[in-house]
């Protein structure tokens, strides 16, 4: 049994179990130590992941677990993002009566997302999606006495239940077609011959099931509500981390399909619909958190572009992972600022922020510009790689739509920036007391700029990653 191949996952599991036990026996006032435990588990997991880096791509545990560059790179992105989320949480969660379990749920959700990214078996994909969903529903509704959080959690749950069912149906149909759940066997059977209609139905079901975790059209409706109503650290988690796992899982699944299935067309349509819808809906928002939620929907659309050209352009996977990493950093930085500002959400409350809280305002502006893709920030390189592979793959029209959408998105990001810079604010700015959120905000801001400056070096690491299949 190759235990060494799943050491990062074991470290997350042990961390989560330790936190559950810790939170059951320790007084509420000491619960914030669970954050330290969670950070330790995540740090250990990240270290063990780095130790796995560099080996040849392979499948392990009888072929259900992929250990390749894509899985490892996305695992690192997920773990770093998870560490940032944990680090911005303690002060926000302090007032909750039972906040120890919050960190355990975060670790469980991270484990589920990592499973999605590493799954080389449809059953494992389903379990990964379920684990990350089940651990995320309570995160969205963590302040269960507060109606908006409950509403967000309920929406998230209902859409999740529906799409998880679709995913399972797709997997079952696929099993009926191929007689196996492992990706290598499925690819082999599909390549020879199978019922194309049934395969298209199965593909559509699996793709729809994964759009829920991606927050892509048509299962995107939960995203703005979660961004607005959930606790801000949980919203930061849910807008970023499941996306990474789902995008990689979708790419891995699509790469199995024979070329004559219309999977490219399906994904391209979803991509266009997602980015356009997200941007159009964000245009008129006067609520910053909701706006960030819609912007996060449109960013999923961009990420799907890389999946469309998968197999046509050889740099599609590095572009996908790099874009996801840059998006995660920028979005987490933005949400860290919102956490630091005690989750203020109305656009009017941001008026004159640059004068009263210059550091927070700077980091928010930098993260928004990175989301648009302004050089030299890391978001620019992510988008640049995406556009390049899309053009390489012969999808010029898709790149054009994405470019138009990017220009449109500049408008609503600047709608937040303008009042922050030039507006006048009447009273003092209330921020969370304590250093955790402030430090996370600073770290994320630094990551944005350093990542932009070191983008060339980073892309050297990722340019050769590919699937183990």
């Amino acid at each position: 049994m190759p235990i060494g191949d799943v050491l990062p996952e074991i470290s997350l599991t042990l961390g989560a179990v330790a936190i559950v036990l810790f939170a059951s026996f320790v007084r509420q006032r000491q619960h914030h130590w669970a954050a330290v435990l969670a950070l330790l588990a995540i740090g250990l997991g990240a270290g063990l992941t780095v130790a796995q880096w560099g080996g040849a791509p392979r499948l392990t545990f009888s072929g259900v677990w992929a250990l390749d560059g894509v899985a490892l790179a996305s695992k690192l992105v997920v773990l770093v993002a998870g560490a940032l989320v944990v680090a911005m949480s303690p002060e926000w969660m302090r007032t909750d009566r039972r906040h120890g379990e919050y960190y355990a749920l975060v670790l469980f959700a991270l484990l589920g997302v990592i499973m999605m990214a590493s799954a080389s078996d449809t059953m494992e994909l389903v379990l990964g999606v379920l684990l990350s969903s089940v651990a995320s529903y309570p995160l969205a509704a963590y302040h269960r006495g507060w109606a908006p959080a409950l509403e967000a959690g309920m929406k998230y749950f209902l859409i999740g239940a529906l799409t998880n069912t679709l995913l399972t149906i797709g997997v079952v149909v696929l099993f009926g077609l191929t007689g196996s759940t492992g990706y290598p066997d499925i690819a082999q059977t599909l390549a020879t011959d199978s019922d194309r209609l049934a395969l298209t139905i199965a593909t559509a079901c699996v793709v729809l099931g994964l759009t829920f975790k991606l927050a892509a059209f048509p299962a995107h409706a939960w995203m703005p509500d979660v961004a607005q109503g959930s606790p801000v650290p949980a919203a930061a988690f849910l807008t970023v981390i499941p996306k990474v796992g789902a995008a990689v899982a979708l790419a891995r699944f699509v790469s199995l399909l024979p070329p004559d299935v219309a999977s490219r067309a399906i994904v391209a349509l979803i991509s266009v619909a997602t980015m356009t819808l997200g941007n159009v809906a964000a245009l008129r928002q006067t609520d910053v958190r909701r706006l960030l939620g819609w912007s996060s929907v449109s960013q999923s659309g961009y990420a799907l572009m890389a999946i469309v050209v998968l197999g046509v352009s050889d740099q599609a996977l590095p572009a996908l992972v790099f874009f996801l990493a840059s998006y995660a950093t920028a979005n987490l930085a933005a949400f860290a600022v919102v956490t630091h500002l005690r989750g203020r959400t109305a656009l009017d409350d941001y008026r004159g922020l640059a004068r009263h809280a210059p550091i927070a305002a700077t980091i928010l502006i930098v993260s928004l510009l990175s989301l648009v893709g302004i050089p030299p920030l890391v978001g620019f390189f992510g988008k640049l790689m995406l556009f390049r592979v899309t053009l390489d793959g012969g999808y010029a029209w898709l790149a054009l739509v994405a470019a138009i959408n990017t220009v449109v998105s500049l408008f609503y990001y600047l709608r937040i920036v303008a009042p922050m810079m030039f507006g006048n604010h009447r009273s003092a700015v209330h921020v969370l007391s304590g250093q955790w959120a402030r430090a996370t905000m600073a770290v994320a801001g630094v990551l944005l700029i350093v990542g932009g400056l070191g983008a060339e070096a980073l892309s050297l690491f990722t340019e050769s990653i590919r699937f183990a299949l």
Binding site: Q28, F61, E101, A104, A109, G112, E124, L127, P138
Partner: protein, 206 residues
Amino acid sequence: MQIAFYLSGLVAILATLRVVTGTHPVHALLYLIVSLIAVAMVFFALGAPFAGALEIIVYAGAIMVLFVFVVMMLNLGESAVEQERAWLQPRAWMGPAILTAVLLIVMVVTLASGDYDGSISGETLTAKMVGMSLFGPYLVIVELAAMLLLAALVAASHLGRSEAHDEADLARERQRELNEQASAVASGETSIHTREESRDTQEGKA
């Protein structure tokens, strides 16, 4: 084995019929248990003893006992019997009956026209083989499914707990802290300095 298959199939059908037509809830439930055990026997006859055992353990054993307890706790009396009898009017069961009859016709025609010769074959799938595949190729998935259950448990315990319960817990915790401080003061171990600190924290809480 064919005799066993057809006999237990017949028992399953008859028992299920009695579930539908029975007017007393507890009697209907007992027939349902018989029906499930008969279906389990069908599995045994088809060469799937593991599925049969699961059927008995999970359905006849666990779920049905739960049903019996729930029905007993609801304490349904004569009125329920009357109501059941009223529900057994033709207009209530005609629709489902017609639809099921269509399915029956489809099955009979398929059996009659196909190349099926009425024999039952198939290799026996034992518990050992199921276990081998669960802890062989699916090991990671089984282990992570355990994590899924644990995460669901934590989620349910967080979302299902009432706020008042939490308040009470917290108040008890604070009270215990105060008592500890008070006893420390009483035992004379603390200096004036720490006593003032403890008073400060009490005032802060108030």
